[in-house]
Symmetry: C2
Subunit: 349 residues, 2 copies
DNA sequence: CTGTTAGCGCGTTCAA
DNA sequence: TTGAACGCGCTAACAG
């Protein structure tokens, strides 16, 4: 008996031999779409497979068939609840179709994103889903589009979850309208003096939300003083630091701080708390996304709901919908509704 | 010119032809570990590859080499911050090694877990990492072990993040000791009357933490009244409902509620708040895990820190450490330290 | 150092 | 229906 040296997995060949049938018959019994195999043989093959603990080699299947069952998912940061909720939706939808999900993390770097897309192409995934705000002006952007286009041209499906405008299937969140609706609701609740905590200027998501919010206020003749618009990283800590800067700069009579994401809003709330400022007693806060924890912080966070898991699900559906007719559908867009959620962090005043 | 019908990706063969060299030379230029290729040729191959937008086919490479660069990761729920933080650690460590991560979600079902492990074997991953509490007594457990053993026997590495005891590499969190230390700290802070919010009885993690907590109290002659131990799903909502049951059953003079996970603790805090019970004024709360949001809820949550991202990183390291010498190391165990973090949800009394 | 050739594990034609 | 043979894209001997 050989030593404990690792044996290699049983192959289809082994199964066929063990069952006393041909390779082709074994293949057909184990996978063959339309089964046209004698039931006796089938059973013998199945038994042999079980006996040998056979597991089909996906790589070999992919090479033989010329296609995989893989969905590649690119996120900025999987520990961020925004992305992890979307990922949950993607994975659930993919698994329902028998697809495997591979995941890569850009850590919010557009260069890294490009690298990863390049690498991911090697997997020959059926679908590539990119999530995370586009940031324009980056030098990688053109290269990224080229890479994605090359992928799409060779039969791959690309779906973006973010902003429209790129020539690929896109699941779009109407950040502008959502933020404008939020502004309107907050004005209706009696707020008049606002500050904003934003991400970096190039981030389209952040920019759209700020613009929507500002325009919503403008409808009521309200403007945010430029000193009251502070920027930081698009993370919890970024929100914390931006809010700290805001506090240091003097809050004047600001009544409500709008953060362009819940994650930033939660960071901002922590900063306010640490500065001894009561929320919402001294100052109210609102965010955007409606991540799970938005309802669990105290006070519960006013925000704009996005059906995050749905985003992921619909991205998969969009990708899989039109395997045919790729000509015109390439730039298909699904628009997802947002909904203002008023909670205790912005009581009527 | 052909229609817009999707062309197939350029192959190595195409590149070789375009560069005017042999297949082997092209292969060596593009991947060959120890480069022993004339620089002129190399450049020509690289240029051809760029021109044709060549991307190596990982599946074909895997078939030819007989091994992949894949890490398969199994989690209970990627939207749960506990798992998403671990996943972040796994992905970061894997990407640093040039490995691709595939992810599957069990949705806390042991049957589903078994199915997925079976399916994942088809990928021939180098490593399979399972996270999530073992739950004993499940009928799938034996089959799961068999499946994992088969995988390990054919050269795969298995690493569990959870409880030790299974014959695979394991990253172990000392739940028992951590909970006991927490109990001691809370008694030192002046608490005497406790309730516990737990997961289902079969979940080893939940059980270990409860046992540690109870034993820690016992050192001080304190016991938790059986009526004050409530159970629910190992989720935020499970914590909410368990706490609601606790409230309905009468809190008597309970001073602190210990939830066996932060996620449950946060659910419990919401239930308490909704019942008009002030935390920590009326009743204190403590959790376990130290997920990111633990510090952002109000009051900030007392808990036991686990270095979650590190868990993932160390699991990858453990898996990759001993490709040799598989005999004795198979059941290698890495023990991770925990640390009590007292926060505002359990002020001294 | 280069090119030729034989596989890797499997799907799928094509005859039988 | 079944089986033999070829090919998928690539790596790794082997020979030049």
């Amino acid at each position: 008996m050989a030593a404990s040296s690792s044996a290699s997995p049983a192959t289809l060949h082994d199964v066929a031999r063990d069952a006393g049938v041909s390779l082709a018959t074994a293949s057909r019994s184990l996978n063959g779409s339309t089964r046209k195999v004698n039931e006796d043989y089938r059973q013998r093959v199945l038994a042999a497979a079980a006996r040998l603990n056979y597991s089909p080699n996906f790589s070999a299947q992919a090479v033989a068939k010329g296609s995989t069952s893989t969905v590649a998912l690119l996120v900025s940061d999987i520990a961020d609840p925004y992305f992890s909720s979307i990922a949950a939706g993607v994975i659930r939808a993919a698994e329902a179709q028998g697809l495997i999900v591979t995941m890569a993390v850009t850590e919010r770097s557009t260069e890294r994103e490009l690298e990863l897309v390049r690498a991911l192409r090697g997997q020959r995934p059926r679908v590539m889903i990119l999530t995370g705000s586009r940031s324009d002006g980056s030098t990688s952007q053109a290269a990224l589009i080229a890479e994605l286009t090359a992928f799409a041209r060779t039969g791959g499906r690309v779906v973006l979850i973010s902003q429209e405008g790129l020539p690929f299937g896109t699941v779009v969140v109407d950040n502008y309208l959502g933020a404008r609706a939020l502004a309107n609701s907050l004005v209706a609740a009696g707020y008049r003096r606002f500050a904003a905590v934003c991400g970096e200027r190039a981030l389209v998501t952040s920019r759209d939300r700020l613009a929507g919010f500002a325009d919503g206020l403008a409808e009521h003749g309200i403007a945010i003083h430029p000193d009251h618009v502070v920027r930081g990283e698009f993370t919890r800590d970024g929100g914390f630091e931006a809010a700290a800067a805001l506090i240091a700069g003097g809050l004047d009579q600001v009544e409500l701080v709008f953060a362009v994401s819940d994650v930033m809003a939660i960071g901002a709330m922590s900063a306010l708390r640490e500065a001894g400022i009561d929320v919402p007693g001294d100052i109210a806060v609102a965010g955007f996304d409606d991540i799970d924890t938005a309802r669990d912080v105290t006070p519960a966070l006013t925000t704009v709901n996005i059906p995050l898991a749905d985003l992921g699900r619909r991205a998969v559906e969009l990708a899989l919908s039109d395997a045919t007719d790729v000509t015109d559908v390439t730039d298909q867009v699904i628009r997802v509704e947002t909904r203002v959620i008023l909670r205790a962090s912005s009581p009527p005043r």
